[in-house]
């Protein structure tokens, strides 16, 4: 963000995303939720120290993830870090109150001296619906209405709004106000054309969750975002992407360490959706041709550079720590990402 703006390749921001998966200790025992949350803090501090641009945490309400309240975790990180941007990834707006989401992130923005970003999304899970008393059949209406209200809140002026999913608001100011006058807001999209157009309609930057298959598939979606923004007379912001990955010293080490954890995590989710168990073949296919960035620093850097070039994105976030991985492997991964992968990707992008 600083002196590097003049160089095209340096325009790309690099982030780390986590859901606060419960890691394991040296003995292979699973961390408790509080331990896992403190581990995330430790990781964020390391990422900040090593110069990673963004640290994002996602909201989940499942036993294997420790983070259900991203902005609380981010507030903790804010007071222990200096420059890293602090983002949610994502905040499940459908089952939250837009006014409170705004207030909590505006507070985070104050604590972090303007480093907060809220990323709104529908999330890939639905546990928050029964938890907060919403009906899945209202999925679309909830998101549509709440994003409309949130867009108004961002103007930081008195709000007047009415809808079916929340009490009306009549000409009320919402506090705190931010220093910049506008809270940094993005929208997370999984690839439905409707969501892409919605991001363009509200003039939000779009972050693509590319969690399976070839990233090339998203090229037309980026074109759709640009054309929709143009038609609707909104600014087309730079686009970002996030994908899962793991880095170790060699390809083999990385694949072997990550495999059982991805399998555990995929199969647990799959069981509720009726997916067949995750096969090693599928895993390797995703590593070689799909959207898993797993390997040595060189392998992962090459793959990231390729995706960034193919899609022309300006932000790449690596989702790390999928499944019950050892805490020390996660820390080593962050170190390799910051000190080896990111510089190498920048070099690759510079050299075309």
């Amino acid at each position: 963000m600083s002196a590097s703006k003049k160089n095209k390749s340096h325009n790309v921001l690099f982030g780390l995303d986590t859901f606060g998966d419960l890691p394991t200790n040296e003995k292979g025992e699973l961390y408790s939720h509080p331990q896992a949350i403190r581990q995330v803090l430790k990781e964020a501090i390391l990422a900040d120290k090593l110069g990673v641009d963004i640290f994002a945490v996602g909201e989940h309400h499942r036993p294997e993830y420790s983070i259900s309240s991203p902005e609380t975790v981010l507030a903790g990180i804010a007071t222990s870090t200096k420059r890293i941007k602090l983002a949610s990834g994502v905040t499940v707006l459908s089952s939250d109150d837009p006014v409170r989401v705004f207030q909590r992130f505006a507070t985070l923005d104050a604590l972090s001296n303007g480093r907060a970003q809220v990323m709104l999304g529908r999330g890939s899970f639905t546990e928050s619906f029964p938890l907060f008393g919403y009906d899945l059949k209202d999925y679309n209406t909830l998101f549509e209405e709440k994003i409309e209200l949130f867009a108004q809140l961002l103007n930081e002026q008195a709000v007047t709004w009415s809808g079916t999913t929340r009490a009306s608001i009549k000409n009320i100011e919402v506090y705190p106000k931010t220093e910049s006058g506008r809270l940094n807001t993005a929208i997370g999209v999984g690839g439905s054309p409707e969501s892409v157009i919605r991001a363009a309609r509200y003039g939000f930057p779009m972050m693509l969750a590319i969690i399976g298959g070839s990233p090339d598939r998203f090229k037309p979606y980026i074109e759709l975002y640009k054309q929709a923004a143009q038609q609707l007379g909104m600014p087309a912001h730079p686009i970002g992407m996030h994908s899962p990955g793991f880095i170790a010293n060699t390809d083999k080490e990385a694949r072997d360490i990550a495999w059982p954890h991805y399998k555990t995590s995929y199969d647990r989710i799959g069981a509720s959706r009726g997916w067949a168990p995750f096969s090693r073949e599928h895993y390797l296919q995703e590593i070689e041709h799909g959207s898993m960035y797993i390997g040595s620093p060189e392998t992962v850097a090459q793959k990231i550079a390729k995706a960034i070039t193919a899609l022309g994105v300006k932000r790449f976030d690596l989702v790390y720590g999928g499944g019950p991985m050892a805490a020390h492997d996660r820390l080593q991964m962050i170190e390799l990402y910051a000190t080896k992968v990111i510089p190498r990707v920048k070099e690759l992008l510079k050299n075309g």
Binding site: Y139, G191, S192, I197, G213, S214, R217, Y221, Q227, G274
Partner: protein
């Protein structure tokens, strides 16, 4: 490209992630494409223009008029919103799945042995529904499409009841860039649904076929998959050999055959038996039907029209060759239908049968369809004890 069966225009109901991928595949294959979202054209016009250029956008009720086959790519929970009257007589390809996170919890759509395509077929009562494409994720559908001779080309499973339609859909699958693997009637499509090993399958034809064969065995038994058909000697001989080859003659002994009457099971011997059945039927001497589960033969039922030394009048006989299907009510199911056939087509009023006195399962089965004992048990020349039974007023 191959334009067999005159499918030139593909219609797609649903313009979300999945519907768009179908539009892209169909356009790449050279089809004319008509696509509709849930309503207004304006809501999807831009998406379609950018993501699937050259596909034409219509309202859902206009799709049928612009297509020779229609792919369903909307959330399954909304199937009752499909404009069913416009789809009368149309070939419809059901690619939908129950997905509770979109559809909400629906007990009507989530039973593990119910093919949701049958539910769709019973709603689209005048359409011809084939299940296909549902098992592969939309990423993979987009990424894996390949030329016919490509190495490791991936396969799409289909399930349906009508041979012509199955051929048409197989052809579409092939043109979309995949090998087609037929897995059985529409009801058998349950094996492709969430919760089964094939859901999410991104396999070659060989692996898909092998996995489907295993699943048919594991599947919760459903009488809707049973049928009675005439023998197909070449295929049924292979299946019969499977029944007998590791059976140590227990099945045929249970049927009352003495050791010297049992020929070793070879494919050739089985083939001769089935050919004999076909010949006997052409003479009006015996009516043989294979009991099938999906496409697989699991047993035989037959009516002998001639008198024998022991049975005076037409008689019925049944054998469930595939042990996995015993004690599941298959015998009763087959007897009831075969007796109806005997009454309506052969105009019999009385039917005879017999079983070994020691075979309690056979005795119970025949009693279950109202056969009564005729006389006392008796010894045959092989020293076996039999009980004759009969049923009047068919």
């Amino acid at each position: 490209m191959d334009r067999q069966n005159n499918i030139q225009r593909i219609g797609i109901l649903g313009a979300g992630k999945v519907g768009i991928v179908f539009a892209q595949l169909a356009l790449k294959a050279g089809y004319e494409v008509a696509i509709a979202g849930s309503g207004d054209i304006s809501k999807i016009a831009l998406s379609v223009k950018v993501l699937a250029p050259n596909a034409k956008v219509y309202r859902p009720e206009e799709i049928a008029a612009h297509s020779d086959a229609v792919i369903l790519a909307l959330p399954l929970g909304k199937y009752t919103t499909i404009p069913k009257h416009t789809l009368a007589n149309k070939l419809v390809i059901d690619a939908m799945n129950y997905w509770w996170e979109t559809d909400g919890k629906r007990s009507d759509l989530s039973a593990s042995d119910v093919s949701t395509s049958e539910i769709v077929q019973s709603f689209l009562v005048n359409s011809r529904v084939v299940k296909a494409f549902n098992h592969m994720g939309y990423h993979a559908l987009h990424d894996e499409s390949a030329e016919p001779n490509a190495k490791q080309r991936k396969a799409i499973a289909l399930a349906g009841d009508n041979e012509h339609d199955i051929n048409k859909v197989s052809n579409i699958i092939n043109n979309f860039g995949f090998d087609a693997v037929y897995v059985g009637p529409l009801a058998a499509g349950a094996i492709l649904q969430p919760g089964n090993v094939l859901f999410g399958a991104n396999f070659t034809a060989q692996k898909l076929r092998a996995t489907a064969a295993q699943l048919h065995e594991l599947l919760i038994f459903s009488t809707s998959l049973l049928s009675l058909t005439k023998p197909n000697p070449q295929l049924d001989a292979l299946q019969a050999h499977e029944w007998f080859k590791c059976d140590n003659n227990t099945t045929l002994t249970l049927m009352g055959n003495a050791p010297h009457e049992i020929k070793p099971s070879t494919i050739e011997n089985e083939l001769n038996t089935f050919k004999e059945f076909v010949q006997l039927e052409s003479l009006g001497a015996q009516y043989t039907r294979l009991i099938r589960y999906g496409s697989r033969a699991i047993g035989v039922i037959w009516i002998e029209t001639y008198d024998t030394a022991e049975l005076n009048g037409p008689s019925i006989h049944i054998m469930i060759g595939d042990k996995k299907f015993r004690n599941k009510g298959v015998g009763q199911w087959a007897l009831e239908r075969m007796l109806t056939f005997a009454k309506n087509s052969l105009h019999y009023t009385t039917m005879h049968s017999r079983h070994l006195s020691s075979n309690a399962a056979a005795a119970q089965l025949l009693q279950g369809v109202d056969f009564k004992k005729s006389g006392k048990p008796y010894l045959d020349t092989n020293g076996l004890t039999w009980q004759n039974v009969h049923k009047i007023n068919l």
